[in-house]
């Protein structure tokens, strides 16, 4: 995002920016749909869908723990590789090539930083529910949410030539975005609780 956004505010090149962000979004969407389906298939092969009550109860507990982490009630590190993507790709491949590669690289999530718990909740649900279709939907939707932030980033950027300004906006408002993440986790927990209740009551 820090590299894509200046294409608009500095170069005033909306066409290149639009093409780059579209490629970024679509390449990442392809990867996440395939990865989500693969994770769901893995769970299916492992027989996890045969224990839906356990999976839903575990998912609910994980959602609550991760929400508590985002709200600062609990403190622990999430599994992650403390890496960011390669900014040098912009110079090597140009904005369109780099945007495509960034989408491929960042969308998986397993190879870069994971600062928020929602990614892991969705990954574990995709595995535990054992449905390739639902796994693809969950991971693809998560990516679209990530990519959405890149689409709206030009709203906040003023003049910086290296994209650091918009990253700075997000950094100074980190508490707000942690609360949004906690809201999403609590809402997901509520959905899992309703699903579990329906399952247990035989609905």
């Amino acid at each position: 995002m820090g590299a894509l956004t200046p294409l608009v505010k500095v170069a005033r090149d909306w066409r290149t920016w639009g093409a780059a962000v579209s490629l970024y979004t679509l390449s990442g969407l392809g990867v996440t749909l395939a990865a989500g389906a693969g994770i769901g298939e893995l769970g299916h092969v492992a027989g996890l869908p045969g224990r839906p009550a356990f999976v839903l109860a575990a998912g609910l507990a994980i959602a609550l723990v991760l929400a508590a982490r985002e709200l600062g009630v609990l403190r622990f590190r999430l599994p992650e590789r403390p890496l960011q993507t390669e900014k040098v790709w912009m110079h090597q491949f140009g904005p369109l090539g780099a945007a495509t590669l960034w989408g491929l690289h960042l969308s998986l999530g397993f190879f870069t930083r994971v600062n928020y718990g929602g990614f892991w909740l969705l990954t574990l649900l995709a595995l535990g529910l054992g449905s390739p279709r639902l796994g693809a939907l969950l991971m693809g939707a998560h990516w679209l949410g990530k990519a959405l932030s890149v689409w709206v980033a030009p709203l906040a950027l003023r003049t910086s030539a290296d994209g650091s300004e918009v990253v700075g906006v997000w950094d100074t408002d980190a508490r707000h975005y942690r609360r949004v993440q906690a809201l999403g986790l609590l809402a997901a927990g509520a959905v899992l609780a309703v699903w579990l209740t329906t399952l247990v009551s035989g609905g």
């Binding site: 969950l138 003049t159 650091s164 300004e165």
Partner: protein, 55 residues
């Protein structure tokens, strides 16, 4: 490195964030009324939205 932040920037992003959150929650409620599993999909978008630090 220029790290100057337009004072309106955070406000704009917060407003966008509120729209995304409200839309996701309303859509989740609607989807959940049809099929509870589908309620997780708009919430996945919301969880991705606030994940920008990884980007």
């Amino acid at each position: 490195m220029d790290t100057t932040v337009d004072s309106a920037g955070p406000d704009r992003l917060r407003a966008a964030s509120a729209v995304v959150a409200a839309t996701a929650l309303v859509t989740a409620a609607g989807a959940g009324a049809v099929d509870v599993r589908l309620a997780l999909v708009p919430l996945a978008v919301l969880l991705g939205w606030s994940h920008l630090h990884s980007v």
